[in-house]
């Protein structure tokens, strides 16, 4: 057996451009087939006479291959390399065969040939468009329990992947002067022209090779040579130019604002054994100064009864399979057309030895040139006739032909039927660019009219049919000059939109408009009858154009049928919006590199490795990984935290505070600036001292807090919350640049300059003493809230005497690269003295024991400084600060606002639930009146009981009252207290 017969009985020797010796094996529904390299799954199966590829969405009707391109609505398959590399809903007309591909049909059970779901077809009279809006309402519960699950099971097409995708995807931003979408005659010519000017050019085409329509149109000559050959030669020439990027297998899927385009390049889906380092697909995000749209046009099907049987396909598709893949779509092919293009398909097939049953042309007067050629080839032409029905079960076996306007119908046996209703310009990208279309009445098509971006449409997508005109247009679009001539065999005319003879309003036949969604002409008429007069309503009611092909074939037909019903001109009915993507794009491509570790940066402090080595558990705080607690062997979280809490207060603890935001505020007006940005006053703060500051926005609600140290008259070291650092800096810059630009001050983020090691506890001073040079650490010389520059282990450092625990405390800021070494040295000494490492959980407990708040936990964006018990931090002397007016608004000064207070459970062993709601009467009926909620709740090892902070309406006046926290399974009785639970006198902080 020769290679060519191996690759299918319908392969025609000498036809097509594939190499017979280069084969690939694949399976379809378990059966093994041989294909040629360059075959699509569609062409390969057709070569073996397989037409049945899938089942439709609603009626489960047998479906075959309609097109040879991305517009395919029917032949959707499931393609896999291995279990994890399985892709549902792939168009067989696009997927290239690779050796070892496993292809499986979809939406059928138990098999493609015998599908139980096809019973829907029998009940199809019931399942008219929108029937589900009118029923399934009784009994009420049945929708959820019975009807909806049934509908959901029946719906859907492919089966979602069940394993994580092992492939990777890449992203590339790019810029160019000219991006050309489509590399047919128009696109290639424009590229040659643009490239000649020296401009940077992107030429992009979705097919494996350039050429566009030249894939099927074997008769066109360019520059005296076969068009397809010219295209390949031109592409080679372009690829060799340094200013040109030619991307094939690449779809321009979206045309966004300001010359921004999304492209997807399919890198490995056609390769049998892809290089592991290759991404499966690459997303190109291109900013183009100018865009040339050369996207061509798409052939339409004829809308007539039972026009959906396998074996019925577009004329240009049949021509592609023949002229490119060397495959005949049948042995006895019928033709039904309203456009000249199908004639050329018939001629090509006939010349290749295929018998043409008849050309049925619904036009009365086809051109004499075509008729002459048909006669010469012995093909009979039935003009003024229509195909009114088809026969066959899993594949077409006959067409029923009748003279238009009545007359005897007769059946003609065929094994394939090729159809053409004319061509629809591909204006998708133009429309996405927000250009405005106009309707070309003569040729019944929408064409680009008003451009919204620097963009030009050329060739088929611009309605330019004449080859010479097209070439001129393309040269002009490229902006350069090239000499080029082209020659067509025939000038094409004709075309129709809407239902053909025999599928008119007075009929009940199934004439499909949208194949995938099983939308028929009568469904569209029903929508109109039901009052759906806007094309968007019709689309949504019938789902016409909403399948995975997004109406590339169906939109114009649907529109014409609606317009006829409405008795309105087509432009008055309107056109649905074309939305990105042009063809579906995998999520993986859009995600690109942003997966796993690169999904979102995990920020780690300089000491992260050391913390990990000490067994720390981490928690996510914003992007940061913070040490949460340090369990020793056998300890659970509570045990570890209890030990850490006890140890800090009894001995000392070492804590990593590096994530706190830090902003260096420098300049002669620095204090004045801080006066405006914080509620506190800063003039009085002396160099060498620090102060706790509260920041509000104009609305007066607490925005952030932190300790601010004054290092010099003109230099402040400001700290912020961990999560708040970026927005606080942005907020400060906003005021500095736009409201207070007269102030001589600058802000620099220094969060990451410093590693911050906090040592807290009675032995804190003793621990750090040997490492610090240049500061007298005694209480007298360096009291609480002091700050000083110094040297730590030979490194310039900043030392704060601060405490977020209520204990004697220091925070060492050392340049970050030195953090690990200093941390290690300090921890070694601290450990030897019985201290511990502690994490954020212990920090939270210790500060709660002292009633110190955490902004974002004990406050939300609705809490004023006074609500939080921080009224003392709001200067009453300042004439202005951000928030000064907001704080005076009626609701912010009213009685009974929620105030932060302490809560003690009556049963000291019970720890409240953070987020628990507080009521005065737990027995009241729902909806209950809630007084506030628990913001922080912990077991306090140091207090020997549970403690909590809460926002409670009129809280400070309720101190001593008993309130209740009703949880899901029990109600907890609590007493309102002040916020300090430990060391109420506050002596410990002074060491």
């Amino acid at each position: 057996m020769s290679a060519s017969s191996n690759s299918g009985a319908f392969r025609i020797k000498g036809a097509g451009r594939l190499t017979p010796a280069r084969t690939a094996r694949f399976t379809f529904d378990g059966k093994s087939f041989t294909a040629l390299e360059g075959d699509t799954v569609a062409s390969a199966l057709l070569a073996h006479g397989v037409h049945l590829l899938g089942r439709s969405f609603k009626y489960h009707r047998p479906r075959g291959i309609l097109s040879a391109g991305p517009e395919e609505p029917n032949a959707l398959i499931d393609v896999s390399r291995d279990a994890a590399r399985r892709q549902p809903n792939v168009r067989a007309t696009v997927q290239e065969v690779f050796d070892g591909a496993k292809i499986v049909s979809q939406n059928r059970w138990p098999s493609l040939k015998f599908d139980v779901g096809a019973i829907n077809n029998l009940f199809s009279p019931f399942f008219a468009a929108g029937f589900y809006y009118k029923t399934f309402m009784w009994p009420r519960e049945a929708w959820v329990k019975v009807y909806e699950p049934f509908i959901r099971r029946a719906a859907g097409l492919g089966v979602a992947p069940t394993e994580e995708d092992p492939d990777h995807y890449a992203n590339r931003y790019a810029h160019c002067d000219v991006l050309i979408a489509g590399a047919g005659v128009a696109g290639l010519t424009a590229a040659l022209s643009a490239a000649a000017t020296g401009a940077s050019v992107f030429l992009v085409d979705e097919q494996p090779e350039v050429g566009g329509a030249l894939h099927y149109d074997a008769a066109t000559m360019i520059d005296g040579q076969n068009g397809y050959d010219w295209a390949q030669a031109s592409a080679a020439k372009l690829k060799a130019m340094p200013n040109v990027t030619v991307l094939t297998r690449t779809t321009v899927f979206g045309y966004y604002n300001h010359g921004f385009l999304g492209l997807v390049e399919r890198v490995t889906d056609h390769v049998a054994k892809p290089d592991k380092s290759s991404p499966r697909e690459r997303l190109w995000q291109v900013r183009a100064k100018k865009v040339v749209l050369a996207t061509g046009s798409i052939e339409r099907h004829m809308v007539f009864a039972n026009n959906d049987r396998p074996g019925i396909m577009l004329a240009s598709a049949a021509r592609t399979f023949l002229n490119h893949h060397g495959v005949a779509v049948g042995r006895n092919v019928g033709v039904y057309t309203a456009h000249d293009s199908a004639y050329e398909a018939a001629f090509d097939l006939r010349r290749a030895g295929v018998s043409i049953a008849a050309i049925v042309d619904n036009r009365a007067d086809p051109s004499e040139a075509l008729l002459a050629e048909a006669r010469a080839l012995g093909i009979s032409v039935l003009s003024g006739h229509s195909v009114t029905d088809t026969g066959g079960r899993l594949r077409i076996s006959s067409m029923t032909v009748a003279r238009n306007g009545g007359g005897n119908a007769r059946r003609i046996a065929v094994d394939a039927l090729i159809i053409s209703a004319g061509w629809t310009p591909s204006v998708h990208l133009f429309s996405q660019s927000r250009g405005k279309l106009r309707f070309d009445d003569v040729n019944q098509r929408f064409l680009p009219d008003i451009y919204a971006q620097d963009c030009v449409s050329i060739g088929g997508c611009n309605g330019t049919d004449d080859l010479a005109e097209l070439i001129d247009e393309a040269i002009a679009a490229g902006g350069g000059s090239v000499a080029l001539s082209g020659e067509n065999r025939f000038e094409w005319t004709g075309g129709m939109i809407g239902a053909a003879e025999g599928a008119g309003p007075d009929t009940t036949v199934k004439a499909f408009v949208d194949f995938q969604h099983d939308v028929t002409a009568k469904d569209i008429r029903l929508a109109v009858r039901e009052g759906m007069h806007s094309i968007e309503h019709i689309k949504r009611f019938t789902t016409n154009g909403m399948a995975s092909d997004q109406g590339k074939l169906s939109n114009m037909h649907g529109l014409a049928i609606a317009a006829e019903m409405l008795d309105r001109p087509i432009p008055k009915v309107g056109l649905t919006t074309f939305r990105a993507p042009y063809t579906p794009v995998t999520y993986g491509t859009l995600v690109g590199h942003s997966r796993g570790e690169l999904f979102d940066p995990a920020r780690k402090t300089p000491m992260h490795v050391l913390e990990t080595a000490e067994g720390a558990e981490f928690e996510d705080v914003g992007n940061w990984k913070r040490a949460w607690y340090y369990p020793k062997r056998g300890e659970d979280m509570l045990a570890a935290v209890n030990r850490e809490c006890r140890t800090v207060r009894e001995v000392a603890g070492v804590f990593n505070g590096s994530t706190l935001g830090k902003i260096e505020v420098v300049g002669p007006d620095a204090a004045q600036f801080l006066n405006l940005l914080y509620t506190n006053a800063w003039d009085s703060l002396k160099p060498g001292k620090s102060r706790y500051g509260i920041m509000t926005r104009e609305d007066g609600f607490v925005y952030d807090d932190g300790v601010v140290g004054r290092l010099a008259e003109d230099r402040f070291h400001v700290t912020t919350t961990t999560g708040g650092a970026p927005r606080v800096l942005h907020h400060m810059e906003d005021y500095l640049q736009t409201e207070f630009p007269h102030l001589r001050v600058w802000l620099t983020s220094t969060t990451e300059q410093w590693a911050v090691i906090a040592v807290q506890g009675p032995k804190a001073r003793e621990i750090i003493q040997p490492f610090v040079e240049g500061v007298d650490l005694s209480n007298e010389a360096f009291p609480h809230m002091s700050v000083s520059e110094c040297s730590v282990m030979g490194v310039p450092a900043r030392l704060f005497r601060v405490s977020f625990t209520g204990e004697l405390g220091f925070e060492l800021n050392v340049p970050a690269d030195y953090g690990p070494a200093v941390w290690k040295a300090i921890w070694e000494r601290a450990e030897s003295m019985g201290a511990c490492l502690y994490g954020t959980e212990t920090m939270h407990v210790l500060r709660a024991e002292k009633g110190y708040i955490i902004v974002g936990q004990d406050t939300d964006g609705t809490v004023t400084p006074d609500d939080a018990g921080l009224g003392w931090a709001v200067s009453s002397k300042k004439l202005d600060f951000v928030g000064i007016r907001g704080l005076k608004r009626p609701d912010l000064v009213r009685e009974n606002r929620k105030q932060l207070v302490g809560l003690l459970t009556k049963d000291p062993a019970l720890v409240l639930e953070e987020g628990g709601q507080i009521v005065a009467d737990p027995n009241q009926a729902k909806p209950m009146t809630m007084l506030g909620h628990v913001t922080s709740a912990y077991w306090s090892e140091n207090c020997g009981r549970s403690i909590a902070l809460a926002l409670v309406a009129g809280g400070r006046s309720r101190i001593g009252e008993t309130l209740y926290v009703p949880l899901k399974d029990r109600t907890i009785e609590v007493e309102v207290t002040d916020m300090v639970f430990f060391d109420k006198q506050g002596g410990r902080i002074h060491g």
Binding site: K436, T576, I884
Partner: protein
């Protein structure tokens, strides 16, 4: 993704480098602590939200860091001009002002020409 001309960098850059910062030319009242509740609400909350020409602020946060002003058509998202912070409201250039807004998505959905 917008392409925004930064008047400080003197170059068009991707929107990814910028942060939108609300309506432009809303001055913080000098005597803010003395204004009425209504005036405060107007200052802090009320915005023009124009359909069409709008003046707005952007910050080139991942670039030069500067806040600046822009005139943009909120229907087409076209920038008519950008200018430095602190400058008074600029009249939009002739070409931009006279250009008819291209209102596509909503318009074509109901009505093509």
């Amino acid at each position: 993704m917008l392409l925004i001309h930064c008047p400080y960098c003197e170059e068009d850059r991707s929107e990814l480098e910028f942060r939108w910062a609300g309506e432009a030319h809303i001055a913080r009242p000098e005597n803010i602590s003395a204004i009425s509740d209504e005036e405060f609400a107007e200052f802090f909350f009320l915005r023009n939200n124009e359909k069409g020409l709008t003046y707005e602020r952007w910050r080139h946060i991942h670039g030069c860091g500067r806040f600046f002003n822009a005139a943009r058509d909120t229907v087409s998202d076209r920038f008519l001009m950008t200018y430095k912070a602190g400058m008074p409201k600029q009249p939009v250039p002739e070409t931009g002002a006279s250009e008819k807004t291209v209102e596509t998505y909503e318009a074509t959905e109901g009505d093509a020409r």
